[in-house]
Symmetry: none
Subunit: 554 residues, 2 copies
């Protein structure tokens, strides 16, 4: 079993020549490879895409076998992938998914990092995160719009919609966290990001997600102050440990206009540098004594969350950004860790009620022109959505493509299938040079149960009910998505979430059109239904408007 192979450099084929037998199998092939593109993945030689140890395949042998299986897969066969390992090819039919994936799932009583890590070490599992193991990660852009929307909503909620002269304090410049500085600046705010790894800061500078690097905390604060005074939003990275710098800032009397955090606190062994440790120590001990690392990391998280609580109590809008840091601190004895809210109940749920979430697509051709043509089509299809037009314009300007060119747009029920059908038309007419692959994050309206994040504080108390993501996966499978996945532990870590992924190919055929119409309707519909069932008036209204059949809704 080979987990690290430094000789490997994977990039998806570009162009319109197939290496598999159809676009329906070429698509998962290219998207798997794209997930491991050095411009996309965090540690491609270890098969790690993002989010701690979120992998695209269990090991290099499995990767090679998945590639081989996809290349020979027929149009009436389906490949089964179990925690990143290809376990079977079975006969199905043309309208069935070509790939079915289950990653990191554990029977609840054994659903702990401890048991998971044991299985992972034995080579029996891998951590799939959300879009890592389900092959629809598109780099930091994937989270930019969500983060942008969140920060913008923070501005609307607390600062009359104007973030000029304001700044946000956060930490973590990883796969997801790296979107924060750019999103903040797009939303009109300056941003100070604490990051403990120099390489991460360099990467975000290089890709244009981060504006400048400060050599010290003092310098960082000076830059922030100046940018705020000049009302010229700027992002600043500073090397350091958030568990030290957050409390230090609070002690100094510094008061940001918003506070959050995107270190990988959800994974205390691999994701969070304990305070006082060097990176070398951290790396060595993760293998030698993972328990000691986790214990030290969690102790540091207590200090980190204590500082966040201080900011919260001082009136600074403070949210948990979905990394489970409150739970970790509470487990360590910090009883009031949940005193500040998660970002979903704070800002995102009203969108989920209408099935709106991180919809995305990628050009299998590799040609950026295809995405620009798709951008145009989306704008034409939704001519009155000024907000969306602004987003696309800004994204075109500020976001560098990583790997296969892609675009993310938060769209909801009623819009997604229309966009999908429009793309299919463009492919059919040759206006887009090769098929478009359409998917979404697992962090979406109907696809996840995660009581510390997406389903925190549901109004009926059904936060932990995971029937919903399972039904979502089943209905996407029944509707003809090209690949469907069921994961456990994404975002908030093993034990804390269950969620499903969906990807579908627009290859320009009429069959694809029928599938797109079903899948891109049903997928967001399950989100509207889940929220309507929980009692959200906004969702019930949406369900009625869209004519959803809900037998138990009065």
């Amino acid at each position: 079993m080979t987990r690290i192979d430094n000789a490997r450099v994977i990039r998806a084929p570009h162009g319109s020549t197939l290496s598999a037998k159809s676009w329906l199998t070429e698509a998962p092939l290219r998207m798997l490879m794209n997930n491991l593109d050095p411009d996309v993945a965090e540690k491609p030689t270890e098969l790690v895409v993002y989010g701690g140890i979120g992998r695209a395949a269990r090991n290099w042998e499995s990767f090679d076998r998945i590639v081989a299986a996809l290349k020979s897969l027929e149009s009436d066969q389906t490949l089964l992938v179990q925690s990143g390992k290809p376990v079977a090819v079975l006969p199905t039919h043309a309208d069935a998914p070509r790939v079915l994936i289950a990653n990191s799932n554990l029977v609840p009583h054994w659903g702990t990092w401890e048991h998971f890590n044991e299985l992972d070490r034995k080579g029996l599992m891998m951590y799939g995160q959300m879009t890592a193991g389900s092959w629809i990660y598109i780099g930091s852009q994937g989270i930019v719009q969500g983060t942008y929307e969140t920060f913008a909503e923070m501005g609307r909620r607390h600062y009359g919609g104007d973030l000029a002269g304001r700044w946000i304090l956060t930490a973590g410049l990883g796969g997801m966290g790296g979107a924060q500085p750019l999103a903040a600046v797009m939303a009109g705010a300056s941003c100070l990001v604490v990051e403990c790894q120099p390489s991460r800061i360099e990467m975000r500078l290089r890709t244009g997600y981060l504006d400048v690097k400060a050599e010290s905390l003092d310098e960082a604060l000076t830059i922030i102050e100046r940018s705020c005074a000049e009302r010229k939003p700027l992002s600043v990275g500073v090397l350091g440990n958030a568990a030290e710098i957050f409390p230090e800032l609070f002690r100094r009397g510094v008061r940001p206009d918003g506070v959050t955090d995107q270190t990988s606190a959800h994974d205390p062994v691999n994701g969070y540098l304990p305070q006082g440790w060097t990176l070398a120590e951290w790396e060595a001990k993760r293998d030698a004594d993972p328990k000691a690392v986790a214990a030290a990391a969690k102790r540091s998280m207590v200090d980190h969350v204590k500082a966040m609580l201080d900011f919260h109590r001082a009136g600074v809008p403070t949210v948990d950004y979905g990394n489970n840091i409150r739970q970790m601190a509470q487990d360590e004895g910090l009883d009031d860790a949940f005193a500040f809210p998660g970002f979903v109940p704070a800002y995102i749920r009203p969108m989920f009620c209408r099935g709106i979430g991180p919809f995305r697509w990628a050009a299998l051709s590799g040609d950026p022109a295809d995405i620009l043509r798709a951008d145009e089509a989306v704008k034409a299809l939704l001519p009155d959505d000024k907000h969306l037009h602004n987003w696309i314009d800004m994204a075109q300007k500020r976001i560098k493509f990583q790997g296969l060119p892609a675009r993310i747009c938060w769209l909801g029920l009623g819009d997604r299938h229309r966009v999908g059908l429009a793309f299919n038309e463009l492919v059919a007419r040759g206006e887009i040079s090769a098929p478009i692959v359409i998917g979404r994050d697992h962090l979406d309206s109907g696809s996840v149960a995660s009581p510390n994040r997406e389903t925190e504080a549901m109004m009926d108390g059904s936060d932990a009910v995971s029937d919903w993501p399972l039904l979502n996966a089943l209905v996407n499978c029944a509707s003809g998505a090209t690949w469907v996945s069921l994961h456990h532990g994404g975002g908030v870590g093993i034990g804390y979430s269950q969620h499903s992924g969906m990807v579908i190919v627009a290859d320009g055929t009429p069959e694809a059109a029928r599938r797109l119409a079903r899948v891109l309707w049903n997928d967001p519909a399950t989100g509207v239904i889940r929220h309507a069932d929980a009692g959200y008036e906004l969702a019930q209204q949406c369900a009625r408007e869209k004519g959803l059949i809900m037998p138990s809704l009065g």
Copy 2:
């Protein structure tokens, strides 16, 4: 929300007149109703089918709405059921399942009885058990067959497949345990059952599950000896306490040919009579001092398990029959309690390796003649399977139908789809009067992760990996099963299992034939694959023989 309605008496319609729009929707309608037939369900007015609080629908309002939704469901629509409540009807296609079900699923960290009960009380969930919430329970025939297969496998493993002249020692004549004497005799062995309550012995005699009652241990042994000498299998019940009689038998030098136990050891307060206690004392103290009862019961279990260990070491095949008695004895300080195995690793796993498990079907017509015709067809299709013929003959003779006539036969990969296609032909030709519905228990080869039962002691340590049942559900959905379900907590309780159900209708159409061929191949195939992947040689051999494509199998 109405959970109890004593006025309700539900029975499935019989005959070939549809109340829904097609047999694909009539089938789930009738099977849901059949699960609540007073001849089938334990507490039908409470919607409880079996297994503690295993329900068919969340409440009576949900039941009525499911019925209404099924009656109007079109051939390209799918009904979504969330923990027994119908939540949506969505557009799919003709080859997709008509119903998708998710019951009792909880995000692992919240996967406890405590949290479940809270949601259940609030009306947000129901406990689906296995076949209760997935509408394919067929009464006690299933228990008899499972026990029969276990004993038969004991015979194959240790006695060249011939149990003539052999006998099994066990205890417990309760709801499940009462099937033991009948199953043993069907498998060709005599059986001595120790039971501490006279009423239980009488009940099994009355229903024909037990042949005779002995007045003393000496008489019991004489009867057993004679029946073995004459090679005429006979079951004998004897009143007594297993914790006394098992050691006594060992001391006397008696050596049965197999030893097991189905007292309710899993529940030391209510399920196991301490040695030396009268039934009256037991009953009184259960209320007055439950802790004292549990302590005394567990001390007795130590003696009981010690005797089982003695038999085991003396070379007598000895197994735990899923009542947790080893755990109880170990908790009391008997360190080597787990020296003898559970029944799944001991006897059932080799069958699981070949995809063999509790396959079953029911006649939607309600006509017993349809099942007899199907019995014939199965025998004709598998002319050399003496064991199967024996089961069918004995079942016809000794097992009464409950609700819609049904048959259970443990069949594996390669046989199931042939049987399904044969039934479809018989329906097409009118030799069976209405469609046949075909399904299985969730306790099957590829459909369950349950580390204390079905996946105990997997050879690679993957007991708790639940990717497998999720893949099983997805592939059944992709293959065109008529309804597919994903459950949590069946058998061993909330937190301890995840499992999936599958039911498919043979309505005599060519479309059904194509779906049957796929589903009834792929469903057991996932079981073979799961076991082959875990390293079982038998499964790997089966996979090769059947030509399964397993990309990671050398």
